[in-house]
């Protein structure tokens, strides 16, 4: 039967021809409908009701049905439908609730045939029975559907949806007695036309109004619905319960949906608001429209396939007062513009790669992926079975698994944790890092560190003044005293936890920078300590107690040649360190220059290569002899850094960058540096190396990086009484008007830093608690808990 009809259309001489074209209407259209012969289309709107003939090159106005002196509201159409059996029969739904039928065969100018004024509210939809000549169905805002027999003056039966407005009614194409109706509340009902008392079936299809529905022309059980919730759903009604078989998510509410003839899975949609395009979807591929028509400048209000067996012509009417004929072959196909490849990393380093089958197939054996030099981790490819829709969008998904072991990044973690980046003279840093690298079996890296030390730490470069300086002020007897004095001075002003920590005597590696800034302060105060030196105190982490404090006084920081280090006395907020203080490596530079610390070591190092005159090291020694400045090498070093970064070892690049600091920084452009920093920080954070990443952020000299730590520093708190978020201020709750945090010492509201004991949860102003705990170890709230800072 199916085949037959198709053949007859072709044989009947009605082979459709035409092109993409449009014509201007006088007024916005609300709906369109096509005549059975596919040669005429009727356009209806608030102030338009015309029939156009579709010719090969253009639309030609054939008939204006809007006649009469004073157009009445009966002509203000919300919907129009052309009978598919009778070329002379039309029906319109008026906004005032009237259903009008039109007989084009009437000899008079006024073709109006019958008037049904039974609905109390706007009629949203009218629908002719597909095979019966005299049966018309209407659905109205008042929640009723009415079935009219055109041979009678009033309705045959009334169906009550028991709900607010009916949005669409559609006779089933295959089941003689069935029709579907959709409602404003999201329901779809199925009715038997012989039983007006109750519906056969009802289910909720959408969230919000269901604007439209359409029965599949071939598949008897399929009903497509479109709703305000921006979805098109296809339901299989043959089963006991309506089953959702497909769902297409569009970008705007769906006003009309129409199955595409001869294409089982295609349907066309247009939207009610905002989006003016018409889309043709393949329901099996719900994410990308198969075709898109972009001719309209305002929302499309009506769509119709020109011929029930021709899939290539689509007609549409729009609020922009145009009537369009779209040719499928002229449609734009978003698929063509979509990126055909996708790539994603899994949680455990697996890599998934999806691409169009055709693209993958051309590459022989997919070798390039496995052997790519730039990926330090190797993958083996595992092919997933092809996607179910082979004919449609055949893309191949490959998952590359990480080989166990090969992906181990333990060297990275170890290196990151053990590298020393700051806080010691350059030579020591280099040595330390070289040692670390060697222990991890990374000899090339170790070698690099050694070379760096040789390049930059030649003793001959130490300025003479510096030498004198340190010699002249060698005594360090009074240091511990001075230091403790300074600490006391600083503590209240600084008020940070880190400092508290230090005063308790244990040092953590992440306080390094704080320490050095503190050093600046002390130095400023105590000029006479300058130049003194205690070699043992550079090993952070190992140092304890007073020795650490000695370190604080590291005199080398206050070289007079570096005046920019001196911070104003009154400004000690932590932020300043990040923003304004020059980075750690520069301090180190000075340390490295100190003869006492590095001199002997550097000598020792340079002594070795003297014997083996052809090694690299000996070259550097020779250069040192000829007093070549380290600048000479900077180009080479930069190349080296770039090499490492290219290799994927951004860790090395950043570490060297930090350690060398000023020496190489200016030779590498800011952007590259930033890029390295961000990649390294990202890596560190993936491995949960928060401390290291923080240190890197602090030590970085690039502004963009160092502000990373200043972003999103907001802490959201909830009220302790009503558990509501305290949106406006951190200390008073909007809702219960209570102050959340009181200081246990002074009984005032704490508005700034609040410190509390994790044991008894009492706390208060940082300074107050500090002061309190100096004198007592009990909780200031009097709860008897022995509080302790840790």
């Amino acid at each position: 039967m199916e085949k037959m009809s198709r053949v007859t259309t072709a044989l009947g001489g009605s082979v459709l021809t035409g092109r993409t074209m449009h014509c201007h209407l006088d007024a916005p259209a609300n709906a369109i409908s096509v005549c059975r012969d596919a040669a005429q289309v009727v356009v209806a709107g608030r102030s338009i009701f015309k029939i156009y003939a579709i010719e090969e090159e253009q639309f030609v106005e054939k008939l204006n049905l809007r006649v009469g002196r004073k157009p009445s509201l009966n002509l203000s159409c919300a919907d129009v439908v052309w009978h598919q059996m009778d070329e002379n029969l039309l029906a319109t739904a008026a906004t005032n609730g009237v259903v009008v039928t039109w007989n084009l065969g009437r000899p008079s100018r006024n073709k109006q045939d019958q008037l049904f004024t039974e609905h109390k509210r706007t009629v949203n939809k009218v629908c002719f029975h597909p095979t019966e000549a005299h049966v018309l169905l209407s659905g109205s805002q008042d929640g009723f559907m009415k079935c009219f027999d055109l041979r009678r003056k009033d309705s045959v039966s009334t169906f009550s949806g028991q709900s607010e407005s009916v949005r669409d009614v559609q006779f089933s194409i295959r089941d003689y007695f069935t029709f579907a109706s959709t409602f404003e509340n999201g329901n779809v009902q199925l009715w038997d036309i012989r039983r007006p008392d109750r519906c056969e079936r009802m289910f909720t299809a959408h969230n919000g109004p269901v604007f439209c529905c359409d029965w599949h022309p071939e598949d008897r059980g399929w009903l497509a619905t479109g709703g305000r919730d921006k979805m098109v759903k296809v339901w299989d009604m043959t089963t006991h319960r309506a089953k959702e078989v497909h769902c297409v998510q569009t970008i705007a509410s769906v006003a009309r949906v129409k199955w595409r003839p001869e294409c089982r899975h295609h349907l066309a949609t247009c939207s009610m608001m905002v989006d003016h395009n018409i889309y043709v979807w393949d329901v099996r591929r719900p994410f990308v429209p198969a075709a898109m028509f972009e001719e309209h400048r305002d929302v499309t209000t009506g769509i119709a396939w020109r011929h029930p067996h021709d899939p290539s012509f689509l007609l549409s009417g729009s609020k922009d007062s145009t009537l369009c004929q779209h040719l499928f072959r002229d449609a734009s196909q978003p698929v063509e513009r979509a990126n055909p490849e996708g790539l994603c990393y899994g949680l455990f380093g697996d890599l998934a790669f999806a691409a169009k089958e055709s693209l993958v197939a051309t590459e022989s054996g997919r070798k390039p992926y496995t052997g790519d030099r730039r990926h330090p981790i190797f993958f083996k490819r595992k092919l997933d079975p092809a996607e179910p829709f082979a004919g449609l969008a055949s893309s191949a998904l490959s998952v590359f698994e990480m080989e166990p072991g090969s992906g181990s990044m333990s060297w990275f973690v170890d290196t990151a944790e053990r590298y020393a980046l700051a806080g010691r003279p350059l030579a020591e840093l280099c040595d330390h890092n070289a040692k670390v690298a060697r222990e991890l079996g990374r000899n090339q890296v170790a070698q690099t560190w050694t070379m760096l030390r040789i390049i930059y730490c030649s003793p001959g470069l130490v300025p003479a003044t510096n030498l004198n300086h340190s010699v002249g002020k060698g005594s360090s007897c009074g240091l511990p005293l001075m230091n403790s004095f300074n600490l006391k001075d600083m503590a209240p002003g600084l008020g940070s936890e880190t400092r508290l920590d230090r005063s308790k005597g244990d040092t953590r590696s992440d306080t390094v920078l704080l320490d050095s800034s503190a050093t600046l302060i002390t130095n400023e105060d105590n000029e006479e300590t300058e130049g003194s030196d205690v070699p043992a105190d550079y090993l952070l982490g190992d140092v304890e107690g007073e020795e650490d404090e000695l370190y604080l006084l590291d005199p080398e920081h206050a070289h007079s040649e570096e005046p920019e280090y001196v911070l104003p006395q009154e400004a000690f907020p932590l932020r300043h360190e990040i923003v304004d203080t020059p980075p750690g490596p520069e301090h180190l530079q000075d340390k490295a220059d100190s003869p006492h610390v590095s001199g002997s070591e550097a000598d020792a190092a340079s002594l070795v290569p003297m014997d083996s005159s052809f090694s690299l090291i000996s070259v550097s020694h020779a250069l040192y002899d000829s007093r070549l400045p380290p600048d000479f090498f900077s180009a080479l070093v930069c190349d080296m850094l770039r090499f490492y970064a290219e290799q994927g070892d951004v860790q090395m690049a950043v570490s060297v960058l930090i350690v060398l600091g000023e020496r190489v920084r200016k030779d590498i452009d800011e952007q590259t540096q930033e890029h390295w920093y961000t990649s390294y920080i990202d890596l560190l954070q993936r491995f949960c190396l928060w401390n290291v990443s923080n240190q890197v952020v602090k030590l970085s000299t690039s502004r963009a990086i160092s502000c990373l730590n200043q972003a999103s520093t907001t802490l959201h708190v909830n009220c302790s009484h009503c558990k509501r978020p305290m949106s406006s201020r951190g200390w008073i709750c909007d809702r219960c008007h209570r102050c959340a945090s009181m200081c246990a010492v002074c009984h005032h509201v704490v508005k700034g830093l609040f410190v509390w004991c994790q044991g008894c949860s009492h706390g208060g102003h940082l300074q107050h608690i500090m002061k309190w705990l100096e004198g007592s170890s009990h909780c200031p709230a009097g709860c008897g808990h022995l509080c302790e800072y840790s």
Partner: protein
């Protein structure tokens, strides 16, 4: 400028109506004692509201959940006569004030202040001044519009239009706000602002329409509160709900026996229902009826009541009313062009403004989609609220039970829209004439178009047999209809801007 902060007395200051003022001026010795009104509303006896409240656990729960101030304010108390509705109201209000949205919290409250100021609604202003400061708003802004950023100031124009003549909003207004520049608004921000404006204009209608009293316990005064002014004259309040006094209000309806009035209304409703089946008016007839109703709303001016607020015409400040001027100037900090007020949609002797065809731009189809697209989820909340208020019914009318009030509700809703020039093709505006008596029309027009002029007399003079809760229901309908009308106009302009 006199700010209320200096004397935060619990007893509200009441304005004096022109009539009493005349009396006062003649005899300076007469002291009118300040009536001590209690309860959340000046119109509704306290016991009506309180009774309803004590039973209602649900209300407390809702307040707990959704109130931004954390307490049961007077609006909520009055609305709690309709708990079902209250929930959707509070939810949407909470969403637009507190939940995710494009505007910062203090801005939202400031916009609420601007909206309320258009109707001189000191109740809402005070409420939001507090909230504004609490959410961290800059106190300086409260000195008036000239202290706020230009960007907020730019909202003035649509605030003004939206409040009084929403049909004048065009896409050019929208374009002006969103066109790229230093102080431009993004569309989501603008939609958020429009929703807030419409909400608070409508809420001002409710506040005046239900005679909401100032909050009894002005909290720690922050100097920016306005004097808690009630716009109800003492003489209004003195009559204390006595129906007998209603005869004072004007000749035409005092005489009619209120009971028979109700019966007549019921009768008319029944007749309309039946009539519908047999008699069908011609289309021309229908159009004329709409035009007639529109035109007629012109003459429905609360002129016959002797309380007219002198401020609406500020270009001619009358020296006699000095206290009034203080209040006005206090409120007018937040507004520009205070003389701009409601003007009838169908003005005589002016060119015809195009009628807004409801079917061409409906809330359900178009408004919802747009608003939800630009300010997610508010669409659902508003949709629920509109639906709720439209369908809310207890099937009662005064003493009668099991009455289908759909017709009445629809008439109220559509009459409000009619005054804003929105026409429903499928509505017979003849019904309005049959169902809504003149005193009710006066009340509706006052509440929706210039709510600040509402008096207790107006409130009392219509539907005298009806319960207060039913009158509150009417107010809810008016408020939502007004909000929807404003939103429709604004959203239509935005849609036009987008296409």
């Amino acid at each position: 400028m006199n700010r209320g902060g200096s004397s935060p007395s619990a007893a509200a200051n009441y304005l004096l109506c022109t009539n009493c003022r005349k009396v006062l001026r003649k005899d300076k010795r007469i002291r009118v004692s300040q009536p001590l009104t209690r309860g959340p509303s000046a119109f509704i006896p306290e016991k009506e509201v309180v009774q309803a409240n004590t039973v209602d656990e649900r209300t407390n729960f809702l307040v707990e959940e959704y109130s931004t101030s954390g307490r049961l304010d007077n609006i909520t108390q009055v609305m709690s006569l309709h708990t079902q509705y209250l929930e959707s109201f509070l939810r949407s209000q909470f969403y637009m004030l507190r939940m995710d949205g494009p505007l910062p919290l203090p801005h939202r409250h400031y916009i609420a202040i601007m909206a309320a100021a258009r109707h001189q609604c000191s109740y809402l202003i005070n409420m939001h001044v507090d909230e504004f400061l609490k959410t961290g708003g800059i106190a300086e802004w409260l000195n008036g519009l000239e202290y706020v950023p230009q960007r907020l100031k730019n909202l003035n124009e649509i605030n003004k239009l939206l409040a009084h003549r929403p049909w004048l909003i065009t896409k050019e207004h929208i374009q002006k706000l969103v066109k790229t520049g230093e102080n431009n608004w993004s569309l989501p921000e603008l939609v958020h602002a429009v929703v807030l404006l419409a909400h608070y204009h409508a809420l001002a209608s409710f506040v005046f329409g239900s005679g909401i009293n100032p909050e009894r316990d002005p909290e720690i005064s922050n100097g920016f509160r306005l004097i808690s002014v009630n716009n109800f004259c003492v003489c209004d309040l003195a009559n204390d709900n006595n129906i007998e006094n209603a005869s004072l209000t004007g000749g035409n309806f005092g005489i009619v026996d209120s009971l028979s009035e109700l019966e007549a209304l019921m009768e008319r409703m029944k007749r309309l229902q039946e009539e519908r089946e047999d008699e069908e008016a011609s289309q021309e007839e229908m159009t004329t009826r709409f035009e007639k109703e529109k035109k007629e709303s012109l003459y429905v001016v609360p002129g016959d009541t002797f309380h007219s607020f002198p401020h609406s015409d500020c270009s001619l400040p009358s020296l006699d009313f000095e206290d009034d001027m203080i209040v006005t100037s206090d409120v007018s900090r937040y507004i520009e062009d205070p003389g701009f007020g409601y003007e009838d949609f169908a003005r005589r002797g002016e060119e015809h403004l195009p009628t807004f065809r409801a079917q061409d731009y409906t809330w359900e189809n178009h408004g919802f989609s747009l608003v939800n697209r630009l300010y997610s989820d508010i669409g659902h909340l508003l949709d629920e609220k509109f639906r709720m208020v439209y369908n809310l019914t207890y099937n009662t009318m005064a003493t009668h039970e099991a009455v289908d009030t759909t017709m009445l509700r629809r008439a109220l809703f559509n009459y409000v829209h009619c005054m804003f020039g929105i026409r429903y093709d499928d509505y017979d505006y003849g019904e309005v004439n049959q169902l809504l008596e003149r005193s009710l029309k006066v009340y509706i027009k006052t509440v929706t178009c210039y709510p600040e002029r509402t008096t207790k007399r107006m409130y009392d003079s219509y539907w005298r047999q009806f319960k207060h809760s039913e009158k509150v229901h009417v107010n809810l309908l008016l408020m939502e209809a007004r909000m929807q009308a404003e939103l429709l106009y604004a959203l239509r302009a935005i849609t036009r801007h987008l296409t």
